[in-house]
Symmetry: none
Subunit: 194 residues, 4 copies
DNA sequence: GATGAATGAGCTTTCATTCAT
DNA sequence: TATGAATGAAAGCTCATTCAT
């Protein structure tokens, strides 16, 4: 279907050329239609990209939710590690989406920035509450402060791996993933043995 | 001087609007000259931006070198922490440069990508060798493998803070910085007590 | 139709102002459309002019072919004279095309020069073979060498009249045409009475 | 000297790129000065080119005068042939000047066109009167009408060779030159044997 | 004599968008 | 649904020219 295809191609071009570099003509060419035809589906360029970014962020959120659901039955450290691996795998598999995602941070459309901000908050809150829930379930006597600290640690490591994705080659990235795993083990172990 | 001013304004506009969104006219307006005058200093748009990006990356490297030099006499954990704080402070103080830096990763000019790659390698190697040197000086019996591991851990945390810079508000960021400090202490402590 | 009209106007402006002096804006104005619209029909300025020059040279060739066909039944000297008169008439009637044609010799676009060279060869060969055929039909015992000589003489006179077209006024030109006629008669007579 | 060098380079660029294609910058580069410096020697672009064209046309006239003077003592047919050979040699030796000369016919500056017209008349009158003088000296009883006819014939052949210069290769051109010689002989012979 | 710096005007071209079909 | 044709606006860039030094 064209509506969907348009969004995918728009994202691809956005990740390659930026918002102003992604032109209606090139997108239309890539989809196999004429530029004028895009306007049947979307009112204008901005509307097309807002739809595209919405999908991008929704995908990101859904991926994390799915990853979490698939590993819910595992031990807490395995879940944390699975989430980290999920982040990396998801972004590696669709680097176009990943660079698009990064570019959003510097997007020139105000509405996009607002939308991104909202998404970030939603995502943070969701992750925070999910990880908190998991930790409470696993450790009876864990206090709120420790939970908060562990979640933040997870965020730092997750973000560190994510940015590394764009900066290092596969080999270095895998080394960092291994180190991150050890880090998770130590983190969880610290709670247990307290 | 106009040559220098042009570069700064170009970076500002790049960080705000991306490469294609940063127009010669707007840059010229901002500098206070006419668009045609830019071409007296730089052959074309690409040349201007390459010069700007070069300066951006050089600044980044110099900042890290200076930060390190200023804290060289301190204990190893204090140096690591100072570097992390230096990264954050430097990027916070010039967010325009920081978003420009991030955008470089998705820059549409091939020559830029190559230049960025080279810079990244230089930077990584420099950081790696400096940190390795510091660790060897501080701990007589530390082995190569452990050094490598610690450097990578530092990279993860540094990158995590860096990306957090663009995603979280000041409060959360400060929390993460505190956590990162604890992390550094633990890391160094682990070596000492081995 | 605009595609055709564009070509004609482009030629007119080329003959008046040269390649760099013929601007897309002025051509568009003359056709009655906006500059941007030209790009719907032709990829760029060069493509437009190449199309225009192609038509110019094709017209020239066709005109010569038609002139010849219209006079084929006449005596050989009358045919030769008709061709000369045809050349002059055709160029006089469309001086814009004629000056455009002359300018092609000094055109700054390499592709044009190549195309012109090819056309010139095609034209020369066609004229040579046609005139040779006519001469062989008219004179049983004429030898190859003489044919070649006569064709070359015709070329000299034709070119002489053509260049005179751009240099002399109508009166002088008509005198030269009369002289050229006498020249043709003498030339043909020489064969007959050999 | 720069004034002279400027003119030569200007002509070269005019012959290559046309009036609008010959830019002050490129000319300055070629001469080895800065564009602003041209304005010390010539008020503006038009003044520079008018000076250049003036020199071009003067050279042409002088060349013809010299050629004639060098061969004045020869027989009339040899003089005519020498003039034709002189035209070809002069133009072949400086094709840049030749194409510049041709381009003048289509020059976009009105003042140039007027100047060219004047030159053409001067040149025609000079050639006419010189050739008439030579013919009168050589043939006592030649009448005015015949003189006029012969001069015009010479013009046709001269112009034919000249245009051939731009259209044919060296081999064909030499063939045409030979034919032109025969033509001159016949022409002169016709008078003698009348 | 020469030029560094600057600019108004204008160039070719691209862009998002429109609208009748 | 889709597009051929068109366009206003603006892009990057070049040009001839000026002028203080």
């Amino acid at each position: 279907m064209n509506r969907e295809k348009l969004i995918d191609v728009a994202l691809k071009h956005y990740s390659k050329y930026g918002y102003n570099g992604a032109t209606m003509r090139k997108i239309a060419d890539d989809v196999g239609i004429k530029p004028a035809s895009i306007y049947f589906f979307y009112d204008n360029k901005e509307a097309l990209f807002i739809a595209a970014f919405k999908k991008l962020l929704d995908n990101h959120l859904n991926m994390m939710k799915n990853t979490l659901d698939q590993h819910r039955e595992k031990s807490i450290d395995q879940i944390f590690i699975a989430l980290l691996r999920g982040i990396i795998k998801h972004h590696k598999e669709d680097m176009a989406a990943t660079t698009a995602y990064i570019s959003l941070v510097t997007a020139p459309i105000p509405e996009i920035k607002t939308y991104l901000q909202t998404h970030m908050n939603t995502f943070s809150e969701w992750l925070n509450s999910e990880l908190s829930g998991l930790l409470t379930e696993s450790f009876d006597d864990i206090n709120k402060n420790d939970i908060h600290k562990i979640v933040q640690q997870f965020n730092i490591v997750g973000n560190g791996l994510f940015w590394g994705l764009n900066v290092y080659n596969d080999e270095v990235l895998e080394q960092q993933m291994t180190i991150a795993e050890h880090f998770i083990y130590t983190m969880i172990n610290n709670i247990t043995t307290k």
